[in-house]
């Protein structure tokens, strides 16, 4: 009797084991498993460790980083470059992989394989992951740059692991920190005399863009009577008022601009609900590209379901948990009010200390004045001013002003924000000090920096010493 029950248990165990193995195998091999309610758990069970803040949104789509067939380090490198390559190029990356193709750097390559991103950024290793998702010890710079020729005399008393301290050096992006830039912006005021953020340049853009569809959308404001929606599709009075107030209506973009496809199976047909980012992308290519590169849109870029605040690791408002992120989740369909998208849309979801402190900040006070028409355009500072700034961007139609929709472009390290945003209104030294202080950032810059980063002072002292030496050589 006991023997028979043992046999049944073994059969149960065998069946369960096979079922579990089959479940995990399907979870691993099914390309749609990451978005499948049934098999997403299998993928989660197979994760070798928690991913970083930059990849958790897509962590179940293993193929995004590992390639379709888990091709090893080369496939991962290709995936890194595919998503981050353009950004690094724009940042004048100081350590591009190509630099290490030069045989002169063979000695350095023996110390650290700087040609592979995963040398310093290993995923699934939460125990050793530091800021900027770096998994190398913080003294990594020292191994290559400790020589007398490279280490300036004024650095000899600095900590060997402090090269990348806030306001000093970054491995990739030093656009706001290189020596001559520090010298050029020495002694700038905390707040510049002309403190204004860049504004739209639609008129100039239309003239410069060879591909602007001026024939279809002549730059002339439309009225309600000119709506080209078919009968019965004109929408409510409120909806029409929303549209009339938009830059779309002001720039001659009629209902058909979004509701009628110009290509594909539905070309020329009215679409009741245009398909999110694909529709907007028809005109807003760079904005969509940025959105897909950032945390809001990276799931869509990987053909996953849209990101929702409920999936985020940062504190989010509970009632926004299921909101699916796309263009209209922040801009609203028909209204497309950029002022709402720049503040309220962010605050409707984000619930962290920095966001909650915004409305007590001097930046918000300036924003309110601008919105009320009491201060000039560009004088207010919204969430988007810093996290999705207007920047001059190189596009297929030349260089033009575009809102950078990759919210991470000015973060990690946050010195990336200095030139794109802070320096429109603040001196470099003040910006470096402010961004180096986590407490001040959490309070949304209500107050003044309590400590000073000596980067500019060091550059000035070094320059003065050089001039002194030069004068003594050539009296």
């Amino acid at each position: 009797m006991a023997k028979k029950s043992r046999r049944i248990l073994w059969i149960y165990w065998g069946v369960l084991s096979v079922a579990m193995a089959a479940y995990l195998t399907v979870g691993l091999l099914d390309k749609n498993a990451a978005d499948s309610p049934l098999f997403a758990t299998a993928r989660a069970m197979l994760l070798p460790g928690q991913t970083t803040h930059g990849h958790y949104q897509i962590e179940l789509k293993c193929e995004s980083c590992h390639g379709a067939s888990f091709g090893g380090p080369e496939a991962i490198q290709e995936a890194c470059v595919k998503c981050h390559g353009a950004e690094l190029k724009d940042a004048d990356d100081k350590h591009p992989a190509s630099k290490f193709d030069d045989p002169r750097n063979a000695g350095r390559l023996e110390k650290i394989d700087a040609k592979m991103c995963i040398t310093c950024h290993v995923e699934h290793k939460p125990g050793i992951t530091q800021a900027m998702a770096v998994t190398k010890p913080v003294d990594v710079c020292f191994h290559c740059h400790a020589g007398e020729e490279e280490m300036p005399p004024d650095h000899k008393d600095l900590a060997f692991d402090g090269c990348t301290a806030a306001g000093c050096h970054n491995y990739h992006d030093n656009r706001a920190l290189y020596e001559d830039f520090l010298l050029k912006h020495n002694n700038e005021a905390k707040v510049l005399q002309k403190a204004l953020l860049p504004q739209r340049e639609l008129g100039a853009m239309v003239k410069e863009m060879a591909s602007y569809p001026a024939a279809r959308y002549p730059l002339k404001p439309l009225s309600t009577a000119e709506q080209d929606a078919p009968a019965g599709k004109h929408g409510s009075a409120a909806l029409q008022t929303d549209w009339l107030g938009t830059a779309h209506a002001q720039a001659g973009v009629n209902c058909s601009g979004c509701h009628v496809s110009s290509a594909g199976d539905n070309a020329g047909k009215w679409t009741e609900r245009p398909s999110g980012t694909e529709t907007c992308k028809g005109c807003h290519v760079e904005e969509t590209k940025g959105f897909h590169a950032g945390k809001h849109g990276m799931r869509l870029a990987q053909d996953l379901s849209p990101m929702t605040p409920g999936m985020a690791r940062q504190p989010m408002k509970a009632d926004a948990a299921h909101k699916q992120l796309g263009c209209t989740s922040c801009h609203g369909a028909h209204r497309f009010d950029s002022a709402t998208a720049a503040v309220e849309s962010c605050m409707n979801c984000h619930n962290d200390k920095h966001t909650l402190a915004y409305k007590q900040s001097p930046h918000y006070a300036l924003w309110q004045k601008e919105i009320a028409g009491q201060a000039p355009p560009g004088s207010g500072v919204s969430c988007a001013s810093c996290h999705m700034p207007r920047v001059r961007m190189r596009t297929e139609d030349g260089v033009r002003m575009v809102v950078q929709h990759n919210q991470n472009d000015t973060l990690r390290p946050n010195e990336k924000m200095i030139r794109a945003t802070c320096m429109s209104c603040h001196g470099l030294g003040f910006a470096i000090d402010a961004l180096a202080e986590p407490g001040l950032i959490a309070d949304n810059f209500k107050g003044m920096p309590s400590r000073h980063v000596p980067s500019i002072d060091m550059a000035v002292a070094k320059d003065a010493e050089k001039q002194r030496q030069r004068a003594s050589r050539n009296p």
Partner: protein, 191 residues
């Protein structure tokens, strides 16, 4: 935009020519030295043309635009040394069977200082022996290279004024015709 696109396409064309010559070198029995000399003659010619016709003319003679190492921020011309380096980086993208760089015993940018013993020996040799090139084999990272060093001389006022007056220059007495550094060209060889 158009100007930079033209320059870029010019460098790509140069890269293609150089890469093609590198690939066919061994097959046609060309020695590494012959190949290095041929590659250098193209590089030296392009470098001289950019320095004389673009930088020296527009900056020093016609005073229309400056050249600056921070050319993006300063909206200026790319310095001749940077033009040479960007060309080398563009060529390297096609993974040709050679690499090259512009180095000096008196570099403005410390990254362009001689690093390997052969670089130091070669730069010293071409500085002390005008008109002569330097050739030697060296091993870097378990690979053996035929390394050639060619003198890089000051050919225009722009060269000497910029190097003598740069705040980071370790030498301030360059004259036209002086050797200011050298082109170091490496071709991997089988041993």
């Amino acid at each position: 935009m158009k100007r930079s696109a033209k320059m870029q396409s010019g460098f790509l064309a140069l890269g293609a020519v150089l890469a093609a010559s590198a690939l066919s070198a061994h097959a046609s029995g060309i020695t590494p030295r012959e190949m290095a000399d041929a590659l250098h003659s193209v590089m030296a010619a392009d470098r001289a043309v950019y320095t004389r016709l673009i930088v020296n003319r527009l900056q020093n003679e016609e005073k229309i635009i400056k050249a600056s190492e921070h050319w993006k921020d300063d909206k200026a011309l790319v310095l001749p040394a940077q033009m040479f380096r960007f060309g080398a980086e563009e060529v390297a993208k096609s993974k040709p069977n050679f690499s090259y760089s512009l180095l000096s015993l008196w570099p403005v940018n410390k990254q362009n200082a001689a690093k390997t013993p052969v670089e130091k020996e070669g730069l010293d040799f071409v500085a002390k022996n005008p008109g002569k090139n330097f050739y030697k084999e060296e091993t870097l990272g378990k690979k053996t290279y035929f390394t050639a060093v060619y003198a890089d001389t000051a050919i225009a006022p722009a060269c000497v004024t910029c190097h003598n007056n740069h705040k980071d220059t370790p030498r301030t007495d360059f004259k036209i015709g002086d050797v200011m550094g050298g082109v170091v060209l490496r071709i991997p060889i089988n041993r």
